[in-house]
């Protein structure tokens, strides 16, 4: 079994003191894996990965990235530590051009490395090339997600963390996003993915966790979880894929 990249142990986090949202959640993500986190609406999936990314105050537990304790690291240091995060909503700078959205994320790269790295992103996401000087706010939903992912990948992260990249997209874009993620993994990038679209996520994932009320309640091989009765039960009898359309961030 390959080495552990992200190791989250008994994480507790919340927005206000005394109101824990994440209540002792633990997951492990190994090198070049796609790990999926499923769960009903309001289970705390977004809060969980936002806490990992340093955006929600952590009150207990630890987060290790490549063996290093990053539990207390401020959000802006995460890219340097190797964790790139793509939030569920508002994940681009709408008034900046596509190119500036990429450039602004290059703060930790060597200055002379940047132009080539941007071209590499355009090569990986050809849809963005024609739009390079368009304001990102004018992109279609699918293109926005591509830009957000490109922006996260540009810094060579050890792990790419995504919050519902398919939420709010039309079916055509949804399959495009999942194809893109499968392709990114093939290039060796480790991915932690939160999804409501359980079927599609489990199809590209290696392993998955089910998060309920802020705690990981079930774990398994992604391909086996789709027909796992425990998962259906945790979703309160709903089929996971129809458990919701993805609510507020």
């Amino acid at each position: 079994m390959s080495e552990t990249v992200l190791d989250v142990r008994n994480l507790e986090a919340g927005y206000e003191p005394g109101v824990p949202i994440v209540r002792g959640a633990s997951i492990i993500v190994r090198k070049s894996e796609i790990v999926v986190v499923l769960g009903p609406n309001g289970a705390g999936k977004s809060s969980f990965i936002k806490a990992i990314a340093g955006l929600v105050p952590i009150t207990g537990g630890t987060v290790f990235l490549d063996g290093k304790d990053i539990t207390a690291a401020p959000a802006h240091t995460m890219v340097r530590l190797g964790l790139a995060f793509v939030p569920q909503t508002e994940n681009i700078f709408p008034l900046m051009s596509v190119e500036d959205n990429l450039k602004v994320a290059c703060g930790i790269l060597e200055r002379r490395e940047i132009p080539a790295r941007i071209e590499e992103m355009y090569a990986a996401f050809p849809d963005l090339v024609r739009q390079r000087s368009t304001a990102a706010g004018n992109l279609s939903g699918g293109q926005r997600q591509m830009l957000a992912v490109a922006r996260a990948l540009i810094v060579h992260p050890k792990v790419l963390v995504l919050d519902e990249p398919s939420a709010g997209l039309s079916p055509k874009f949804v399959s495009m996003v999942f194809e893109m993620l499968a392709g990114i993994r093939k290039s060796g990038v480790t991915i932690l993915l939160v999804e409501q679209n359980a079927k599609a996520a489990l199809a590209i994932g290696d392993r998955a966790y089910v998060l309920v009320e802020g705690k990981d309640r079930h774990e398994g091989i992604a391909s086996e979880l789709w027909n796992d009765p425990v998962v259906a039960e945790l979703y309160l009898g709903q089929r996971p894929s129809h458990a919701g359309k993805g609510g507020a961030a």
Partner: protein, 302 residues
Amino acid sequence: MSLQFVVDGLLTGSMIGLGAIGVTLTYSILRFSNFAHGDFMAWGTYATLAVVSAIGATFGKVAPIAPLSFGWPLLVALVIGMAFTAILALLLDKVLFSRLRSQGQAIIVVMASFGASMALRSLLEFTFTSRPTYFSRAIQIAMPVGFGIRITPDQIALLLLTAVLVLGVHLLMTRTQTGRSMQALSQNAALARIVGIDVASVVRVTWVIGGALACVAGVMIGILVQIRPFMGFDMLLPMFAAAILGGIGSIPGAVLGGLIIGLAEAGAVQLIGAEWRAAVSFIILMAVLFVRPIGLFGVRER
């Protein structure tokens, strides 16, 4: 009607515009209206004046540079004054604004800036009295340049200086990583952190730019008009009107807004009398808020 108002308007507009850059940056990046910005101008001007006097006391009388009314001491003093004003702004942020900002209520920060404004102004009055003073009492001869317009060498130099500074800030905002970080922070603070931007350091840059330009604007007023403790406070309304007219967050907008208000003020003075000068900013401000609240270069929030 004489076209002289164009020169007067452009000069007033330059001062307003340089000040409005700071206003618009603080508003878009720190999300509050800094009513102490005018007093940064006054403090910067008095600091510059103090350095000019100190240089005069040390080196004796220095001859002005050819046609201008001032010599190298003022230029050196201006740079020192800009640094001083930047530090003043950083200091005020550290002891006052940043603490209140962390509580997350913008109105408290605005009120604090009002208090800081009064305190800063009173300190100036206390130290330097409210009597006007000047960088130089020499009268400059205005040169005719056609169309009934006359302009002094000082005025030409200051217009050029404004153009250079505005271009510099614009390039900084659009071409450098620092500028992109500032734009990013103004559009989405959480995402800015996610992409690795250290908010605290961008905030510091914002204060340095705003403070330094406030000082330049103040010194321009000092050279062309006079130096008074109220000189900056009196510019607040035109500066905010310019920032809002240009569209909050837009550097070119703030400058264009300043020039429009400067020209409108100068035109109004000539057409309907000097007592209407102050009303011009107010009328323009109201008109913008009614007709196009996002301003000329503003973009609707998502």
